[in-house]
Symmetry: C2
Subunit: 195 residues, 2 copies
DNA sequence: TGTACATCAGTGAACGCGCGTTCACTGATGTAC
DNA sequence: TGTACATCAGTGAACGCGCGTTCACTGATGTAC
């Protein structure tokens, strides 16, 4: 396991709040958002079943916090990957796609918590698409088309991440992102009147 | 004989096997594959908690059967939509994409059971991609490229279906499939050396 | 045609389990004096 | 510097719950005679 190991403390854990979130992420990664139990998280932290209630009002509250954290991390990584769309939109889109796959792979717990049905990332689409959309528009692709393209790249990344997680991809997801994004961009360009 | 609607019988249900599967599909659609309980399915059929065990050895057996059925239905619809790639691959791909979205929308229970982590559709990729791949190859697109394209369209459809299910799509999924598939095809064509 | 019987899809009570949550408690820690 | 105390993060026993599963049973149905 990837434990950020701490010396075993006798009574006071010291950072149980954080430790519970990390344990939860690990459990969700291992068994899915529904296979996660508060007791297991407590056990993983070497703490009694009731201890978590000193830090979270609820199991739901822990899950919500996990999703919130996941959303932050996710957005930060995608934002960094996009890098303002510099030096060129095509490259930036590729970086975003790769970052998407990498996040799903490296932080499966947060990723799954984030996309769990019922998670409150219903306000994510703007956050995820409009920065890309605006940057693209600035580069010269029409507003509507930019949004479309961003959503398509998003869906492609999301679909590839899901299929990879299910073990259904017979080839590297990165390759499919690379050629897929290139084809979407080339295809879109061919649609443009002014070339 | 396979009518889902029968007059309420006193003791013998008559078609509990089928009824349980339909109830399970409805429950999975409503609450997800993990929110599904055997007792609820029994209740939905107006039957005692132990009755299902006369038809399925296990809860897991019911789930597996649901996934198996879902796989059949899914494959049948995708296959019909592909229609041998006639009269032209581009159109056929669009039909497949639409069928994918329609299935996820109209049969959410089967769809979710099918893609539930741990479902045994690990042997699906060949079934789903190679018919398309072979047809494409016959039309003139290289073997490797055809597989790539099929996977990209698959991932795009899957991603759009997921995002739509989560309420994250600010526009019609069909539009995004239409222009997305068109762009992927056009982009691929532009890569080809011989046109 | 009516009766006896085998079959087997249903019942309902019971079980063990793990979970989420509560509660009164306890003991480690920091701070005021 | 040592002592008293408030704080509060932990304990562990207890609860109620719904679930999956079992078991001995029961009664509707079809069939042999």
């Amino acid at each position: 396991m990837d434990l950020p190991e701490k010396p075993r403390r006798a009574y006071h854990h010291g950072n149980l709040h954080q430790a519970l979130l990390e344990a939860a992420a690990a459990l969700v990664a291992e068994r899915g958002p529904e296979g996660f139990s508060l007791l297991d998280a407590a056990r993983a932290c070497g703490v009694s079943a009731s201890a978590p209630y000193k830090h979270f009002t609820d199991k739901a509250a822990l899950m919500a916090e996990l999703a919130r954290l996941g959303g932050q991390k996710f957005q930060a990584r995608l934002g960094a990957a996009w890098g303002g769309g510099q030096p060129e939109a095509g490259q930036a889109f590729l970086r975003v796609g790769h970052a998407y796959l990498a996040f799903a792979r490296e932080e499966p717990g947060y990723y799954l918590a984030l996309f769990r049905p019922g998670s409150m990332m219903a306000d994510m689409p703007d956050q995820a698409t409009s920065p890309m959309g605006r940057a693209l528009a600035a580069i010269g692709i029409g507003q509507g088309k930019a949004g479309e393209l961003a959503l398509q790249i998003w869906a492609l990344s999301h679909g590839l991440a899901s299929l990879e997680r299910s073990g259904l991809l017979p080839m590297r997801a990165e390759t499919l992102i690379d050629t897929g994004v290139a084809r979407l961009l080339r295809g879109l360009k061919a649609e443009q009147p002014g070339g």
